[in-house]
């Protein structure tokens, strides 16, 4: 019993957001009607999976204090192009179509990732401008492709083997497994590989990293690539869930993604954080979104609350960083 107590204390100290997650759960259980139902728990699970995958990808970019505004557009473009491939190019071969669809969506992600990465590393563009441009072009393309080229708002008729990935009926656990695998992959990359160490080093002090032999440009490029690829996987999940390719997929997700990452504990100035924090952050966002929804709060008020929470998190991050320095400076003797 004592051991669990110590363990819990350690988790909270390492990941202060855990405390807020507990508070959110408490709040939900006590004050929100229908919170503790099986149906709602299933909902929360799925929503967590949905947010987790793309937020993990975004964490890579945030660790270098960058941003990727185009991740939501990847969802849309991947969705419509993938659906097109599956429905129009492989109508008679569902299994092959599924594979082709998955590959196509990942390829879409790779293209976005490459453009963003190269723009930042070669053209020296700030990431928010590069990704803003790709975001706008992507969103426009998705809408045009679906409505204009195909004349539909959504592309239905996806092969069953693909829809399974979304977790309908008995396959409820599939997206959960996918999400956990992606999260595990991200955590593995960040904590156990050299690439992950390089991500943290570059995010903390790129000059020192360079002198220590780290290939900074390569690392930054791959941060954007991974973010885009994770977004592509997310696109697969969501498209399967909706059972149709949709051109406005995830258009409102961006705030949730940034909230999950920043409130979770990854510092906006880079170098600190990770996907474990993002997991907790995603959980927190999903919980409060869910709770507020059930109470009847409108989506835009939730947006307001989230914006304020990110603000609070950034202020706290600033204060903590500053006090760390100040206290230590006083102790230092030289």
């Amino acid at each position: 019993m004592k051991k669990t107590g110590v363990a819990v204390k350690k988790v909270i100290l390492d990941y202060p957001i855990a405390l807020f997650v507990l508070l959110a759960v408490l709040f939900g259980v006590l004050f929100v009607p229908h919170f503790v139902s099986v149906y709602n728990m299933k909902n929360i699970c799925l929503q967590l999976c949905d947010l987790l995958v793309i937020a993990c990808g975004y964490t890579f970019v945030e660790l270098n204090a960058g941003t990727d505004l185009s991740c939501t557009s990847i969802l849309a473009v991947g969705s419509v192009v993938g659906a097109y491939v599956m429905v129009f190019l492989f109508p008679e071969a569902p299994l092959l179509g599924t594979v082709a669809g998955i590959v196509t969506i990942l390829f879409v992600g790779a293209i976005f990732g490459a453009i963003n990465g190269l723009a930042v590393v070669r053209l020296k563009m700030p990431s928010f401008i590069a990704s803003m441009a790709t975001m706008l072009i992507g969103a426009a393309f998705a809408t045009w492709f679906a409505s204009f080229a195909l004349g539909k708002t959504s592309i239905g008729g996806l092969p069953q083997s693909f829809i399974v990935l979304g977790g309908s009926g008995n396959y409820f656990f599939v997206p959960i497994i996918i999400a956990l695998c992606m999260w595990g992959l991200a955590d593995f990359l960040l904590k156990r590989t050299k690439f992950g160490r390089d991500v943290y080093s570059v995010g903390t002090n790129p000059k020192a990293a360079h002198i220590s032999g780290i290939k900074v440009k390569k690392t930054v490029f791959w941060m954007f690539m991974l973010c885009a690829l994770f977004a592509a996987v997310e696109s697969i999940l969501l498209t399967a869930r909706n059972q149709a390719g949709m051109s406005n997929l995830g258009s409102t997700m961006f705030l949730n993604i940034v909230s999950a990452v920043v409130i979770g504990g990854t510092s906006v100035s880079g170098g600190f954080g990770g996907v474990r924090q993002t997991f907790l952050g995603s959980l927190f966002i999903v919980l409060i979104n869910n709770a507020m929804n059930l109470i009847g709060v409108e989506w835009y008020t939730i947006m307001l609350v989230q914006g304020l929470l990110i603000l609070l998190a950034t202020i706290l991050d600033y204060m903590v960083k500053n006090s760390r320095y100040r206290v230590k400076k006083a102790v230092k003797e030289e």
């Binding site: 563009m125 928010f128 803003m132 072009i137 409505s147 940034v258 409108e298 304020l308 603000l311």
Partner: protein, 328 residues
């Protein structure tokens, strides 16, 4: 993030960089004249001027921010929330006030207050909490939108009363455009002929030296962001008046167009450069001509967005040549 872009050498490059834009506009105008007879008409020209006015006003504020190597991506959403606040006020005003010219004072006054408040928040976050301008304004943008929608719910506000200003013409020239011209001339004067303007250029060029000289950089930056908020709000009202209503996605993504206009007009995201006359005018005009031209070509909505995205990318890519700072 403060780094000087290396200057371009060579006479040809110099000529291009100074007059290239006018060349581009001229080519586009000529091409569009051939494409659609209606383009070269007086009424279309006036339409272009009228439609560019709200963006022009907002660009004026954005240029000051860009000169200090900052950015404000909450501009569009500040337009939204000012529109919402004004809409609410209009609903609550008694008919007598609504019919007097006093209503305009109230509307624009309210918008200025709202824009100024959000601008000040931006400024504080950036100077006191040292949050990157992009992140800070992104946050405030969400807060503005969330707050605006919470106030509005699903109502569309009828602000046709502002149409009296936004849509009317004096001797055929749109009033909105005249307002833009007046503000442009005024702010151009501030930028080029006053100490405030000089200090802005100084901060954008060499922040450390500016502080050493005794310029109160933090205070200056807060004022600049407040100005940007105010101009965005005013631009927002003008725009709302033109469409007669403030709807739920009013102002969304406008900041990107505003920033592109400023950058095309000569401002650099790395600071130290920028002008209102002719910069802002040229930039806004160019984009407006393109958009108008797309309308002439009966381009679909999606093409609009793609073109807007491409313009932003190109404008900024050219600006980034020679940047030697950190890659993020």
């Amino acid at each position: 993030m403060n780094s000087m872009a290396k200057g371009q050498t060579g006479k040809a490059a110099g000529f291009l960089s100074r007059y290239g834009l006018y060349l581009v506009i001229a080519i586009m105008v000529v091409a569009l004249c051939f494409v659609n007879k209606n383009f070269a008409t007086y009424s279309n020209f006036m339409l272009i001027l009228q439609q560019m006015a709200p963006f022009g006003v907002a660009t004026i504020g954005m240029i000051f921010v860009l000169i200090t190597a900052g950015i404000d991506i909450s501009a569009g959403r500040v337009m939204f929330i000012s529109g919402v606040v004004v809409g609410e006020i209009l609903l609550k005003l008694p008919a007598s006030v609504l019919e007097s010219p006093f209503v305009f004072v109230i509307c624009f006054g309210a918008a200025i207050l709202v824009g100024g408040a959000f601008g000040m928040m931006n400024g504080l976050l950036i100077t006191k909490l040292k949050i990157y301008p992009f992140m800070a304004t992104l946050l405030m943008g969400y807060i503005a939108r969330g707050l605006g929608l919470t106030i509005a719910g699903n109502t569309k506000y009828d602000v046709s009363i502002l149409g009296t200003i936004s849509n009317s013409r004096i001797f055929g020239v749109p009033v909105a455009f005249l307002i833009f011209v007046v503000l442009a001339v005024l702010m151009n004067y501030v930028l080029r002929c006053t100490t405030f303007g000089k200090h802005t250029m100084a901060i954008g060029n060499n922040k450390a030296a500016a502080a050493q000289i005794g310029i109160r950089v933090d205070r200056h930056m807060i004022i600049i962001y407040m100005m940007c908020g105010v101009f965005s709000a005013i631009g927002g009202l003008l725009s709302a008046g033109q469409i007669s209503e403030v709807f739920t996605t009013f102002g969304e993504n406008n900041e990107f167009q505003i920033i592109s206009s400023a950058v095309i007009g000569g401002a650099s995201m790395f600071g130290g450069k920028g002008s209102i006359l002719p910069g802002a005018v040229v930039g806004v005009l160019l984009i407006q001509v393109v958009l108008n031209g797309l309308g002439m070509l009966n381009a679909s909505v999606y093409i609009y967005n793609v073109v807007r995205g491409v313009i932003i990318f190109l404008a900024v890519a050219i600006d980034c040549i020679g940047f030697e700072g950190e890659l993020r």
